[in-house]
C-alpha cells in the first residue's frame, strides 16, 4: 500500500526521494520529544514519516502484502505503547529500529506457528469432483427412501413414484398408470402414511 498521499507534506517526499531516513532521525527525535509533551501534530507527522521507513525494514523479511501491512501496524502500535521510553538525549534511529526488528521477528514467529498448525482446505480434500459424492448423508437418505418405496404395496408404490419422485401431475399420472385420479389421491395419501411409519421405524432401528 502506498503511504497516504492525502497527508504527504514536503517532509514525506523528503524521506522518499531525498536523503536517507537516517538523516531524518534528528527531526524524528524532535517530533517524538514534542509528541511526548502532547503535541499531536508533531506526533502525526512523525508516524507518517516513520511508516514508510518501517515498511522498508519489514519488506526484507515479510513478502506477503497483507502480512507486511500487519507488521507495519504492529510496529506503529508498539511505538505508541512505549513512546514514553524514548529519551530525547539519545538517537532516535536505534530506538525505532530495535522496536521494529523485535516486532517484525515476533510477527514472523507467530505466523510460523500458525502455519505449522493450520492447513488450507483445498479441493483435493474432496473424494470426487461431482458434488453429490461428498454428501454421504444425503446419499444414504435417498437410498433409505427408495428402499421404503419398494416395500410399499404395488399400487401405492407406483402412485408415489409417479407423483412425487417423477413429479408428474395427477392427470399425467392417471394417463400413465391407468388409475383414476381419485384412486391415485387415495393411494398417495396411504403411501405417505406408510412411508412415514416405515422411515421412523427404520431410524429407531439404527
Amino acid at each position: 500500500m502506498p503511504s497516504s498521499p492525502a497527508h504527504s507534506g514536503p517532509s514525506l517526499s523528503l524521506v522518499k526521494d531525498g536523503p536517507a531516513p537516517s538523516d531524518r532521525t534528528l527531526d524524528w527525535s524532535v517530533f517524538m520529544a514534542r509528541a511526548q509533551a502532547g503535541d499531536r501534530e508533531a506526533y502525526r507527522r512523525l508516524l507518517e514519516e516513520i511508516a514508510p521507513y518501517i515498511r522498508s525494514l519489514a519488506v526484507r523479511q515479510v513478502q506477503n502484502r497483507a502480512d507486511l501491512e500487519d507488521a507495519v501496524q504492529d510496529v506503529l502500535l508498539t511505538v505508541h505503547a512505549v513512546r514514553h521510553t524514548y529519551d530525547p538525549m539519545r538517537p532516535f534511529g536505534p530506538w525505532l529500529v530495535a522496536i521494529a526488528n523485535r516486532r517484525i521477528v515476533d510477527a514472523l514467529r507467530r505466523r510460523g506457528r500458525a502455519g505449522a498448525r493450520e492447513a488450507p482446505l483445498e479441493t483435493e480434500h474432496e473424494t470426487f469432483a461431482a458434488p453429490e459424492t461428498n454428501y454421504h448423508e444425503a446419499a444414504s437418505d435417498g437410498r433409505a427412501l427408495r428402499e421404503a418405496v419398494d416395500g410399499l404395496p404395488p399400487g401405492q408404490g407406483r402412485a408415489i413414484r409417479l407423483l412425487k419422485l417423477e413429479e408428474m401431475s395427477l392427470k399425467e399420472a392417471a394417463r400413465t398408470s391407468g388409475m383414476s385420479v381419485a384412486a391415485l389421491k387415495v393411494a398417495t395419501h396411504r403411501a405417505l402414511k406408510n412411508l412415514r411409519k416405515m422411515l421412523i421405524a427404520g431410524k429407531q432401528k439404527t
Partner: protein, 216 residues
C-alpha cells in the same frame, strides 16, 4: 482491517502527553533502594545472624557476600538498561564477571566443605530459610516486573533473565545475613539452586509474566 493511514490518524488523535521514563540508572537505583528497605524490614523482624561480624572476617564468606551483592546490583542495572529499546545488549554482560566469582566461590566451598557437611541441618531450618527467600524474593520480583512492564514488547526474555538474576543474588545476600548456620556447602547449594530456578523461570515464563502485568 484498518488501513495504516487510518491507524496513524487514530493514534495521533489519542496521543495524550506521557511522562518520560527516568534514566535506567536512576530507576535501577530506585529498585535497589526498595530491595534494601525490604532487607532492612526483614532484619528488624528477624534479626541478624549473631556471628555475622565474625563470618565477614573469613575470606570465603566475604567473597561470597560481596560477589552476590555486586551481581545483584549489576544485574539490576543491566535489566533496566536493556529494557529500554535501542540500548546495546552488551549490557547483558555487565553482571557476568561478578557472577563468575560468586559461582566459583560456591563451587570452591562445595569442594572444600564437602567432607565436613554439618551432620544435621534440620527441616525446620530449611523451612524458615525458604520463608525468608519468599518474603524477600516475591516483592522484589513483582516490583521489578511492574517497573519493566514496557519491556514486554521489546526484550522480555533478556530482561526477565537479568531481573531473575538480580532478585536471586539479592535474596542470597539476605539469606547470608540471616541464616545462622555456617556457610556450609548445603546452604551454598541452596542459594545456587534458587538462583538457577529464578533465572530459568524468568527465561521460560518471561513472556507470560509480562503479558500478565501489561496485557495487550
Amino acid at each position: 482491517m484498518i488501513t495504516t493511514p487510518d491507524l496513524i490518524d487514530s493514534l495521533a488523535k489519542g496521543a495524550a502527553p506521557v511522562r518520560r521514563l527516568r534514566p535506567p540508572l536512576v530507576r535501577a537505583a530506585g529498585w535497589l533502594a526498595f530491595a534494601a528497605s525490604i532487607l532492612a524490614l526483614v532484619i528488624v523482624a528477624h534479626g541478624l545472624r549473631p556471628d555475622l561480624a565474625a563470618s565477614l572476617q573469613t575470606t570465603a564468606f566475604a567473597i561470597n557476600f560481596g560477589a552476590a551483592l555486586a551481581t545483584g546490583v549489576l544485574a539490576a542495572i543491566a535489566a533496566f538498561v536493556v529494557g529500554v529499546p535501542g540500548r546495546s545488549s552488551a549490557w547483558l554482560l555487565l553482571p557476568v564477571p561478578t557472577l563468575a566469582v560468586w559461582m566459583l566461590n560456591i563451587g570452591y566451598g562445595c569442594v572444600t566443605a564437602w567432607v565436613d557437611l554439618p551432620a544435621g541441618l534440620k527441616l525446620g531450618d530449611e523451612a524458615s530459610c525458604f520463608a525468608l527467600l519468599v518474603v524477600t524474593g516475591v516483592p522484589l520480583s513483582l516490583v521489578m516486573l511492574i517497573m519493566l512492564r514496557h519491556a514486554a514488547l521489546i526484550a522480555p526474555t533478556q530482561v526477565t533473565i537479568m531481573g531473575g538474576l538480580a532478585v536471586a543474588a539479592l535474596t542470597a545476600v539476605g539469606l547470608s545475613l540471616f541464616h545462622n548456620h555456617e556457610a556450609s556447602a548445603l546452604v551454598l547449594l541452596w542459594n545456587l539452586g534458587i538462583a538457577a530456578l529464578l533465572v530459568a523461570a524468568g527465561g521460560l515464563a518471561g513472556r507470560r509474566m509480562f503479558s500478565w502485568v501489561a496485557p495487550r
